[in-house]
Amino acid sequence: MMHMRSKLGALLLSACLPLQAEAVNIFACEPEWAALGQVLAPDAKVTSATHAYQDPHYIEARPSLIARLRRADLAICSGAALEAGWLPALQQRAANPDVQSGQAGMLFVAEVVETIGQLEAVPFGAGDVHPEGNPHLHLDPERLRQAGAALSQRLAQVDPERAGEYRADYLRWSLAWQQRLEDWRQRAEPLRGQKIVVQHSTFDYLWRWLGVEVIADLEPKPGVPPTPGHLASLVSKVEAEQPLAIVHSWYQDPQSAQWLAQRTGIPVLALPSTTEPDKGLVAPEQLFDYLLDQLLGLPGAR
């Protein structure tokens, strides 16, 4: 009899619950934050404004994005001016007070997790750099965990009824992440001290974490596309230092990297700078597993 009554109570409770607590709606500026959001709030409705084949610096404030931000309870973005060219336009047009900057519903990760490459002042003609530092901080797995803590905190603020669940989900994820960090560190040992050529500062956090040295950037200045003159000036250095690879991101045109590869014999490696569910990179750990697999698969890494 007791059993029956408690069952009935549970039934009544579950009938009432969906009415008072609708699934939280998360707007992620970049796919990695959508992936993190889905892990830390499994019931949430999560969308990403961008995907791995888009340059997150250059996104248009499209009507579809305005409509999505209009209905968001929480927005999570890298910050550090990465989205300066489009997010303010979305915030202004979406007319959603919950996701205005400074509100609990607007999380800029770079405001709660320390960035590298911060500048006192940006000299004129320095290219597309910002005093807030390098915004691509999700590619440091330690910082990604800090971002997870911040996100979990904000989830509890905007959706207090599920605060306990968010905390439990974060603790479970964070423990598992700790284990992964140990594994990745061991696996990445052969990469320590290796050299690399990059195109933009996208993977800087990853190189730092791996102990890989960046010897050249295909971009003459941050954010400025490679020029033939600049590429030609890199040939002798790359030949002398024999880096592991010339790395560019999936969203970048491979032409410049291939040009340099042909002249130096150094392999080109195209890497995803973020999660891409269509390619099986759904959860954040799958991205790091994939990046490590690709780097360790290079001829020089064995």
Binding site: E60, S64, A67, Q92, Q100, A149, Q153, Q157
Partner: protein, 382 residues
């Protein structure tokens, strides 16, 4: 002390101590310089021949907590004949109204049409299309109050209602409290990962004209001189009617939605102006349209063509004469950085039908334009 098993707890406690709070940010100041050289004057306004500054603006915007944002934009236009200073924007806009509402008060750009709400330095061509120059004086801003609502739908849907003083639309004799009012709506969405679109409909009611007519109904023979008085630089609408209807459609394509390297933008707008004066029948209306295609084929390079046309009714006492003007424009632009644009444009004008030398100034022109912005410039709209 911090054994590995405890380290995962640290981020939580660290974050817990930092409170989320709204802070008053420093004002954003931006300066945009638009310098040009144009080889010849062309009909229906736009830039003047020779060296000049067009739409060089200094803007200061300030956010007030989470409640409102304010903006002041001062614009200088200077050519070989005159220098002009104007405040084009002085407004406060709410940020915290519920239900997707935004209230704006002060002087601001009306939400009508596709190009009107955008700042001219973000345009793909150095001059606005003929229909904007003929019916809206290039772009329409005024003193007033506006309310817009973004609906909570999957499809983007915005509705705006605005009421203006009307002083900035042109030189009319009437002076009602609400000189103009406008209704507009915009829809938009994505067709696929690579394609997105936006469509809008607008209506602008001009009450200045009506009152002016009542007060000075006999004074109509100066109407056909109107265009000549404002030859060249003009702020107001040269061809007005009581009602203006507009429709716009924009379609953009970028491979996989990555508009950094390549993007194709097609846009078109149509406008019809009716009830031109008391002699106008329902067949007497102005109309104009344009279609433009702009292709960015490399991160720093874009090229585009635009065709535009206006069919005007040129008032002459109690009847009208047809006036038809076409303009074809081609341009190539180079953006060495995202704050600079160097544009070379060729404009060709064809007079299809003229009366009383209204389009006497029609000509071909080559324009070289250089735009540079400093400071926190606005994120550009779709």
């Amino acid at each position: 002390m911090t054994s590995p098993s405890l380290r995962w707890l640290l981020p939580l406690t660290f974050i817990a101590s930092t409170q989320v709070q709204a802070e008053l940010q420093a004002p954003d100041i931006s300066l945009t310089v638009d310098a040009y050289h144009k080889s010849d004057n062309t009909a229906l306004g736009g830039r003047m021949e020779g060296w000049g500054l067009s739409h060089t603006e200094l803007a200061i915007s300030q956010q007030f907590g989470n409640f409102a944002t304010g903006k002041i934009t001062g614009v200088v236009e200077s050519n070989e004949e005159e220098t002009d200073f104007n405040f084009e924007e002085v407004y406060l806009q709410t940020l915290s109204l519920p239900a997707g509402m935004t209230l704006r008060g002060g002087r601001f750009l009306s939400d009508i049409g596709y190009l009107n709400g955008q700042h001219p330095h973000a345009d793909s061509f150095s001059e606005r299309p003929l229909m904007y120059r003929a019916f809206l004086g290039g772009h329409y801003y005024d003193d007033g109050l506006g309310l817009s609502v973004v609906m909570p739908t999957d499809l983007y849907w915005r509705i705006s209602a605005e009421a203006f003083d009307g002083e900035e639309l042109g030189e009319f004799e009437g002076d009602p409290t609400v000189g103009t009012w406008a209704l507009s709506t915009t829809f938009g969405g994505d067709l696929s990962q690579s394609q997105s679109w936006q469509a809008g409909f607008s209506y602008l009611r001009n009450r200045m004209l009506e009152q002016g007519e009542e007060e000075s109904g006999h004074d109509h023979d100066h109407d056909h001189d109107h265009a000549d008085e404002h030859h060249g630089h003009s702020h107001g609408a040269e061809y007005a009617g009581k009602h203006m209807y507009m429709a716009d459609l924009v379609w953009k394509w970028a491979p996989r939605g990555n508009n950094r390297n390549q993007q194709l933008t097609l846009s078109a707008e149509y406008a019809r102006v009716t009830d031109l004066n008391e002699y106008a029948s329902s067949d007497d209306y102005h109309q104009g349209w344009y279609g433009s295609a702009v292709y960015r084929f490399a991160p720093q390079w874009s090229a585009g063509v635009r065709y535009g046309r206006v069919d005007l009714m040129l008032g002459h006492d109690d009847h009208f004469h047809d006036g038809k003007l076409e303009e074809t424009t081609a341009m190539v632009a180079w953006n060495p950085t995202h704050t600079q644009t160097l544009r070379l444009q060729y404009t060709h004008q064809d007079v299809i039908e003229d009366w009383n030398d209204t389009f006497e100034g029609a000509d071909n022109a080559v324009t070289l334009q250089y735009i540079i912005s400093f400071g926190a410039h606005d994120a550009h709209a779709f």
